[in-house]
């Protein structure tokens, strides 16, 4: 079934490729920011249809880069993506230069552009006019998306192959091989680019868009190609999702299970080259790798499930692409850097505020946890004071609390105010008397019970000396859950006395404080008697 789907995809794909190029240069006019914004809603403006093309292109690149980027991030091949994206530059140049090669014969001149558009007629002409020859003509140079796509893909794959070769054939390490291929391929591209600039072709200005991206220069032909490649990449990943997932996370198991691991690896690199090429026009050679790495790394921080990561990553990719296209439209600057900063913005937000791993979230969680522990310790101190006078009277004075905790009265007053703010206690007589509310009493009983149960457990079951168990219980009292407490009680046979001879509060004590009615000022009765 999946084979059939894939073959369908393969056969339907080339039909999309025969794209016709349409003209369209960025329109002249009002260049203020407001003017540009207004133009967006002007239906007859060519600049706006460029903007719409740019947005559509941004969506395509967001989807394909987000998708393939996820795989290279989980496979720790992020910098391989960087190398691949620089290595396509000579391919772009060769694709561009190929359009300058013309067939000169008796029947006239046939350019490479014609050959790609209507291969049958061109080659028919070739057979008819025997004795023709190839020539290179600068004036024929055009930006043909298909030729550039083919050239760029071949160059990207060649770059990947050279990295593998250097690692196999020499003692040089992977990082050196990656940097080397990146820089050398890029240099070959620059040599060709500056050479063509020197020749003075009028079309060469369109090529500088490949460096930092110029989404406004996308033509309909480019868009069709981008759409076709994106559909192909998404389709292939959907069909071979299981294989890609398995080889990404457990390569040796996949190998043992008989999957064609190496073939899957190379097809992934092919898809990666495709998605780099999709993004080229809009983001540019230099920054494509960011569109591969950043959205995927952001998604990686947010979820543990691969399919969810793919969706998130595509979403972030689209957001970065679209917001970057907008920003560059308003600032009249290259698209690529803005898209990258859009992606970085999402990354920074997730890095700081992601619900589980965010730096600020974790910090806040630690802070609130510390505050809760402090409140619980105050409640425990109040309980100890009450226990020391055998639960006579309701209130605890600040002085008693401060003595119990070996602190100043100012500290005790601050702590009791903290309790009052969380409705665990009420303050009376100008804040000198602390009365626990039902919730406060219940929590205090729980903490003391947890502490003493744990001490008893350590003494009876773990055979630790009674004078060594306090510190441990001091920590664990705050984190013991109800289920663990039930299990402890069962294990300890519902014992009522801790190793130091003091009573362990039970369920009845917890509920004794819960007054049936009354406001926060309601006076509590303590039912603690042995």
């Amino acid at each position: 079934m999946r084979r059939v789907l894939f073959i369908l995809l393969l056969t339907a794909w080339p039909a999309l490729l025969h794209a016709q190029q349409a003209g369209g240069v960025a329109g002249e006019g009002d260049h203020t920011m407001g003017g540009r914004f207004l133009r967006l809603f002007d239906l007859n403006d060519t600049g706006v249809s460029n903007m719409r093309r740019a947005l559509l292109g941004a969506v395509f690149l967001g989807v394909s880069c987000g998708l393939l980027g996820s795989f290279i991030v989980v496979r720790r091949m992020a910098l391989f993506g960087d190398t691949l994206s620089h290595a396509v530059l000579p391919g772009i140049m060769f694709g561009f230069l190929a359009t300058g090669i013309v067939l000169v014969g008796a029947g006239g001149v046939i350019s490479a552009d014609d050959m790609v558009r209507s291969p049958l007629e061109s080659f028919g002409a070739f057979w008819k006019n025997s004795g023709c020859s190839f020539e290179f003509r600068v004036e024929e140079l055009t930006k043909n998306p298909v030729l550039i796509f083919v050239g760029a893909t071949i160059a990207g794959l060649l770059g990947g192959a050279v990295v593998t070769f250097i690692r196999r054939a020499t003692r040089l390490k992977e990082d050196v091989a990656l940097g080397l291929v990146l820089a050398v391929f890029y240099a070959v591209g620059v040599v060709l680019l500056t050479r063509v600039q020197g020749l003075g072709s009028s079309e060469v200005t369109g090529l500088s868009g490949f460096m930092f991206g110029q989404a406004a220069l996308l033509t309909d032909g480019d868009l069709k190609l981008m759409g076709a490649i994106t559909v192909f990449a998404v389709g292939t990943v959907a069909i071979f999702y299981k294989e890609l997932l398995l080889t990404s996370f457990d390569n040796s198991y996949a190998e043992a299970a008989g999957f064609p691991v190496r073939a899957i690896h190379y097809s992934l690199i092919l898809l990666l080259a495709f998605s780099v090429v999709v993004a080229l026009q809009a983001v540019g050679v230099v920054l494509v790798s960011a569109m591969l790495i950043t959205p995927a790394a952001t998604a990686y921080m947010l979820t543990d499930r691969m399919h969810r990561m793919l969706w998130l990553s595509m979403g972030f990719g689209i957001f970065a692409g679209v917001s970057g296209a907008f920003m560059s439209f308003f600032f009249d600057a290259p698209t690529g850097p803005f898209m990258v900063l859009g992606a970085t913005l999402v990354f920074v937000v997730a890095f700081l505020f992601s619900p589980r791993h965010g730096v600020v979230t974790r910090w806040l969680r630690q802070y609130s946890r510390a505050a809760q522990v402090q409140r619980e310790n105050t409640l425990k101190a109040v309980y100890h004071v009450l226990e020391a006078r055998d639960f006579e009277g309701e209130g605890v004075s600040l002085r008693e609390l401060a003595e119990r905790r070996s602190e100043t009265e100012e500290d005790a007053s601050r702590l009791s105010a903290e309790l009052a703010r969380h409705h665990l206690a009420t303050l009376h007589e100008d804040g000198n008397q602390v009365h626990l509310t039902p919730e406060g009493w219940q929590r205090a009983c729980e903490i003391v019970r947890n502490h003493r149960l744990w001490e008893l457990y350590l003494t009876n079951e773990a055979k630790i000396a009674p004078d060594h168990v306090h510190d441990d219980a001091e920590k664990i009292e705050h984190v013991l859950g109800e289920e663990v407490v039930r299990a402890l009680e069962r294990t300890l046979d519902h014992a009522r006395i801790d190793p130091h001879g003091r009573p362990i509060p039970g369920l009845a004590d917890l509920q004794a404080g819960l007054a049936p009615e009354g406001g926060p000022d309601h006076i509590l009765g303590f039912g603690k008697r042995l």
Partner: protein, 354 residues
């Protein structure tokens, strides 16, 4: 095809490059010298990056230095040497810090952290240059591949006292072009600056040779010898930032990666001894800058990129003739071992019979 690759005109490419026009002014000689200095300085620092498996940190810093330059320009409104160097230094250290921070504080792996940090800073730098630095010679092309052609178009000159000028003239060593009136033309400013940076790098490598050697090969031994590994690490990163920023005009932010990695990688193929590697780096710098300038003269393209392409050719040559990794050496070793095996069989056969 003839238009794309022009015919090789020996007179124009080789002879004229060295003889046409005085060497001191507007000369190709300055460009060769600049290339040589850049590749030497970058290559020496790059050697240690390769040894410490940090080649891709070099990649990252060379990109993010751009943001440092742009921010330094915004703050000081000058393209002076000091603000540029300080900006680059700060950007380099910030990059290293950011990579560590992202890597430590989240579950993003180090390779992705490198990718995120440097692309963000680079994008920021490109936007700042595009929007804030219009009208300076820093433009997008300079970022992409530098402008070595601009080197040698203006010279730094010193006013000499008439007496000294007369004496210099009397020696006859300096032609009219070097000494005009009482003005002595020294060298282009960039070349002078790069020469100082290269000299400092050489002196540092010489001074801290032992520390660098030990900490790059055996970090445990370095710690037990009391060498401060963090200081060495930060020192290399700082040197890297300075070298990258001072070669920025000439080779841009991306080609500099080749200048960092290629010399060391080529030398690594030929030998395993660090002193030899360092000398080979200098030889490589000389060869690739001379060959590169001629390549650029021949096909009329960017000089820095041509130097890298020439250097890549040297790399391939070094691999073919490498005594350790090269195909020739491997083929010989295989033949020798087969011979040895055959000999061994012949010898061991006798005791078995007896």
């Amino acid at each position: 095809m003839s238009e794309l690759i022009p015919p090789f005109d020996f007179q124009k490419v080789v002879i004229d490059t060295w003889t046409n026009g005085p060497f001191a002014i507007y000369g190709w000689g300055w460009r060769v010298l600049m290339g040589f200095l850049v590749i030497t300085a970058c290559g020496l620092v790059g050697n240690y990056l390769i040894l410490r498996r940090m080649a891709l940190i070099g990649d990252a810093i060379s990109h993010s230095v751009l943001a440092g330059i742009a921010i330094a320009f915004l703050l000081t409104h000058s393209l002076g040497t000091l603000p540029m160097m300080l900006g680059a230094l700060a950007a380099g250290l910030v990059t290293v810090g950011l990579i560590e921070f992202i890597h430590r504080k989240s579950r993003v792996k180090q390779d992705a952290a490198i990718g995120i940090a440097f692309t963000s800073l680079f994008a920021l730098g490109v936007i700042l240059i595009h929007t804030q630095m219009k009208g300076t010679h820093f433009d997008a092309n300079c970022v992409l591949y530098g402008d070595l052609m601009a080197v040698g178009q203006s010279l730094v000159s010193v006013e000499l006292s008439p007496l000294l000028a007369g004496k210099l003239k009397a020696t006859g060593l300096t032609g009219e072009t070097v000494l005009q009136g009482n003005e002595l033309f020294l060298a282009p400013g960039q070349v002078l600056r790069m020469a100082v940076v290269t000299l400092v790098v050489i002196v540092l490598v010489r001074l801290f040779y032992k520390e660098l050697l030990v900490s790059s090969f055996d970090s445990a031994l370095a710690v037990s010898l009391g060498i401060n590994a963090t200081a060495i690490h930060l020192g290399i990163m700082s040197a890297l930032s300075i070298v990258v920023v001072s070669s920025f005009d000439a080779v841009g932010a991306i080609l500099v990666i080749a200048m960092l990695i290629l010399p060391g990688a080529t030398a690594h193929l030929l030998t395993q001894r660090l002193p030899v590697i360092l000398w080979l780096t200098v030889a490589y710098a000389l060869l690739s800058s001379v060959l590169g300038v001629h390549l650029a003269r021949w096909i009329d393209c960017n000089i820095a990129a041509a130097m890298v392409v020439a250097g890549a050719a040297l790399f391939v040559l070094a691999w073919i003739f490498s005594p350790i990794d090269g195909p020739i050496a491997k083929w010989r070793a295989r033949n020798a071992s087969v011979d040895q095996d055959l000999d061994g069989m012949g010898e061991s056969a006798e005791p078995l019979v007896s």
